[in-house]
């Protein structure tokens, strides 16, 4: 039997994959002149924009790679569109940032863009995958290129060390996840998520309960690593600091979004029956993640490390509504978080300093960067005038309170306060009057700052356009 493939559904990842190949070829055959570097960048950007257009154009639910009796492996629905759009949007900003990074010349351009496109292809396929195999492959497709990207800068000890740490932790968690997948497969006999759900629904399996529980936990562990939830959060700060900033941005937004997509798919589609067991666990994990993320971020002086721990805390906020089995709030928060976080990373990329004090008086020195960073930080803190952050928090709070998790809401309230401390500490430094040195920054980095801030302000003024797509 020949499986019919709906090319329109898989158009987005296909474009990215082809573009990746094209970039590699171009890099191989074009002479190594600086003009080529921006050309390759533009090609990548064009591919991303094309994919984004395709994703946005997709209406309704499209399925492909279907097995008649069991179910389909690749399904594009509303949440998939949002995740894919988020990944591609963030990817575009990362590409803009990397143009700035590549200008320094110590990174091979072709490989960089190839790996970037590969990772984004993985990030776009993951939300659409409906069976464990595709899920695992997509997850690996997102992770492996990022290890390489982290270590791509020649003769950079810290980059290599960060890549190694990321590699070791990721590989171990992938192994754990695969073992979980094998257990789930063993118990249910199915690989497609909805088939697994159906299999788990029949109660006649004696003694299967604990094994299912362990299997589920191990699968969740794999995704836990990607979103840097509590037991898997140790690598975050070291890797973010070691890696080049565009890669850190990629890690903090795209791979985290992919991780959440996978987690949501597994929990809500594969294991709805076991909700009674995993919801309290996810709730506790969320509380721990927020608290550890915020607490560790309190005394940071290195901006990227602070942003790392802040992104760990933010993933805690995203995890909280998942504990109430409704993923829409989590997706909405992720989209807002992506915009805010990318703005912050873009400004840190445009105006790099090793300590927070370096940013003293940035508003008077470079007003655009200063105000953008201040706006991003206030959004992350969830205070007006950063309305995007405020609405994101309100959406999440509403889900948690409606889901009856009162204690989690209170923990979140306390965490917003702890979080506010280090965000305001940094914002205050931006506004204190000081003779701000005006470091030169490449133009694309400024474009990235502009794009990211525009998106964040757009979300503040009209959050409706994001929330409407979620339906």
């Amino acid at each position: 039997m020949i499986q019919s493939i709906d090319y329109w559904a898989i158009a987005a990842p296909l474009i990215l994959a082809l573009a990746a190949g094209l970039v590699l070829l171009l890099d191989a055959f074009l002479p190594a002149r600086p003009g080529v570097r921006t050309a390759l960048g533009c090609v990548t950007l064009a591919a991303l924009v094309a994919a984004f257009a395709v994703v946005v154009a997709q209406r309704g639910v499209r399925e492909t790679f279907c097995v008649p009796s069991v179910g389909c492996s690749y399904v594009v629905d509303a949440t998939t569109v949002v995740f894919a759009g988020l990944a591609l949007g963030a990817g575009a900003v990362v590409v803009l940032l990397s143009m700035g990074q590549l200008a320094e010349g110590d990174i091979p351009v072709g490989e960089w863009y190839f790996l970037l496109l590969a990772a984004l292809a993985g990030a776009v396929t993951l939300p659409a995958s409906r069976d464990l195999i595709m899920l695992v492959v997509a997850l690996e497709l997102v992770s492996l290129p990022v290890f390489a990207l982290t270590a791509l800068r020649r003769y950079d000890g810290r980059g290599a060390e960060a890549a190694l740490k990321l590699f070791v932790v990721s590989v171990v968690s992938t192994a754990v996840m695969l073992f979980g997948v094998s257990l789930l497969y063993g118990i249910t006999g199915a690989v497609h998520l909805d088939a697994i759900a159906a299999a788990l629904a029949q109660p006649e399996r004696p003694g299967a309960g604990p094994v299912v529980a362990v299997g589920a936990v191990m699968v969740v562990a794999g995704f836990g690593f990607k979103i840097a939830a509590v037991p898997f959060h140790f690598w975050a700060a070291d890797v973010y600091q070691g890696a080049p900033i565009p890669v850190a941005a990629l890690l903090s937004v795209v791979s985290k979004a992919a991780g959440f997509a996978g987690l949501i798919l597994v929990l809500t589609q594969a294991l709805p029956g076991e909700a009674a067991t995993w919801t309290p666990i996810v709730a506790v994990l969320a509380a721990l993640t927020m608290t550890v993320g915020n607490v560790l971020a309190l005394r940071q002086t290195h901006p990227v490390r602070l942003l790392a721990w802040s992104s760990v805390a933010q993933s805690g906020y995203v995890l909280a509504p998942i504990a109430t089995t409704d993923a829409q709030a989590a997706t909405a928060y992720l989209v807002f978080y992506a915009a805010m976080n990318l703005t912050a990373f873009a400004v840190v990329m445009a105006v790099p300093h090793d300590t927070l004090d370096g940013y003293r008086g940035l508003v008077s020195g470079r007003p655009v960067a200063g105000l953008a960073l201040a706006f991003a930080l206030i959004c992350l803190a969830g205070l007006p005038p950063g309305l995007a952050g405020l609405f994101a928090k309100v959406v999440v709070f509403r889900e948690v309170v409606a889901g009856g998790l009162g204690w989690l809401a209170v923990v979140m309230a306390v965490n917003t306060v702890i979080g506010l401390y280090y965000y305001i500490a940094w914002t205050a430094r931006l506004f204190t009057p000081a003779d701000a040195t005006r470091p030169a920054a490449s133009r694309p980095a400024w474009i990235a700052v502009g794009v990211a801030t525009a998106v964040a302000v757009g979300f503040s003024v009209a959050p409706q356009l994001v929330l409407a797509t979620l339906g």
């Binding site: 492996l144 980059g159 190694l164 590989v171 192994a175 073992f179 094998s182 063993g186 690989v191 890797v239």
Partner: protein, 102 residues
């Protein structure tokens, strides 16, 4: 043969892999123990595929993918270890602490 035998062997293999990851200081040996864990997964998958008499043979299909993934991971892993060795002249995992908290 009852499915529990391969499952137990796989679990043991997995545990050995875990021990290897935690105990060994040399990164390459850590990589080898991770491979061990992945092979434990393969064993598990194949055993279940046979035990379930799965028509689609999803277990074996997944095993193939896992093997490919393992290969890719080792490739990248060794490349990274090489980069680390080139810059740090040492690949003991627990001595690479430059990026820790100040």
């Amino acid at each position: 043969m009852h499915v529990v035998y391969p499952a137990v062997v796989a679990a043991l293999l997995f545990s050995i892999g875990v021990y290897g990851v935690l105990a060994r200081r040399n990164t390459i040996l850590v990589l080898m123990s991770v491979e061990l864990m992945l092979n434990a997964v393969n064993l598990n998958l194949v055993a279940f595929d046979v035990w379930l008499r799965d028509v689609l043979h999803s277990g074996q299909v997944l095993t193939l993918f896992v093997i490919v993934i393992a290969a890719a991971e080792v490739g990248i892993g060794l490349a990274i270890v090489l980069a680390v060795f080139r810059t740090r002249k040492a690949i003991e995992l627990d001595r690479l602490r430059e990026l820790g908290e100040p």
